[in-house]
């Protein structure tokens, strides 16, 4: 897989979207970056969202990713805050 450094978009939802004031944020993608790395980077770049992001799960290509998962930037990324459907 060829994942070169570039900006990736991460979709936001519900309270996290409202707190950020936008429905996606951008962060720099680095080769070999895991889901956990990406979350940590986003928290550093957006300190005001730190509490939200630490409670959120990262999804890639519409599936929850464990922190150890390598993520290619070509998939749709999203931060999923604790869900409350039902």
């Amino acid at each position: 897989m060829n994942c070169l450094a570039k900006k990736v978009r991460v979709r936001l939802f519900a309270g996290l979207k409202e707190a950020a004031g936008t429905d996606y944020i951008e962060t720099e993608w680095k080769t070999g970056q895991t889901a956990g790395d990406l979350k940590r980077n986003v928290m550093l770049e957006y300190p005001k969202l730190q509490g939200w992001i630490s409670r959120s799960r990262l999804a890639g290509d519409k599936e929850f990713l464990p922190d150890s998962a390598l993520v290619c930037p070509d998939v749709e990324l999203a931060l999923i805050p604790p869900v409350s459907g039902g």
């Binding site: 939802f13 519900a14 707190a19 004031g21 599936e63 929850f64 604790p82 409350s84 459907g85 039902g86």
Partner: protein
């Protein structure tokens, strides 16, 4: 009739049709679970709920739930429908229908389906309160929506004011928290709100 297994809709959910759609001659049991908008959460009055979703992922997660339920139990048909957008008091927000040859499987699968739904499916509700503005609901833990695991527990209103509602500070995150584990008089937790759902 189109055989839709999972559905997200902005329209009223036809629960009668949903129940009928899972009934089969070989099934002696059919079960329907319906979740609806509750007016009171202790002293807080809800005027209506607003649901939003990560649509494509929510559908996938709902399909996975159906497949898993069929692997775990001898259930014949499973249908899950969730409503999005505004849902008024007493209206149905979620309906789950399950059929099985014998009742035990349908009950167990139905219980599991709604519990898992509340942990995994990327859908969120926003409470629109009578006197306190509006607030997205995000359970405190990722693993469980504790408020639903302990039905009937004491729920206390938070002390947040509407003026805090637009704050983007992480400390203002409103969370559901089970009564037993809530630190009392802990300033760090003073903004947490316990809400049933």
């Amino acid at each position: 009739m189109v055989d839709v297994m999972v559905e997200l809709t902005e329209n009223t959910i036809d629960t009668d049709s949903l129940l009928k759609s899972v009934m089969r001659p070989e099934c002696g049991a059919a079960l329907l679970f319906v979740g609806s908008t509750r007016q009171w959460t202790n002293q807080l009055e809800t005027v209506f709920l607003e649901y939003d979703a990560y649509h494509s992922m929510a559908r996938l997660e709902m399909e996975k739930l159906e497949e898993e339920a069929k692997e775990r139990w001898t259930v014949r048909e499973v249908r899950i429908v969730h409503r999005l957008g505004r849902v008024d008091i007493g209206e149905v927000s979620i309906a789950i229908a399950v059929s099985s040859p014998h009742r035990a499987e349908a009950f167990e699968a139905g219980q599991w389906l709604i519990d898992e739904f509340k942990k995994r499916v990327p859908i969120w509700k926003k409470e629109h309160w009578r006197n306190d503005g509006a607030q997205w609901i995000h359970p405190l833990t990722l693993e469980h929506n504790q408020s639903d695991l302990a039905p009937g527990h004491n729920v206390a209103a938070g002390d947040e004011s509407p003026s805090e509602g637009n704050s983007s500070s992480a400390e203002q995150v409103k969370m559901i928290q089970p009564v037993k584990t809530r630190p009392s008089n802990d300033s760090a937790a003073s903004n947490d709100t316990k809400l049933g759902s």
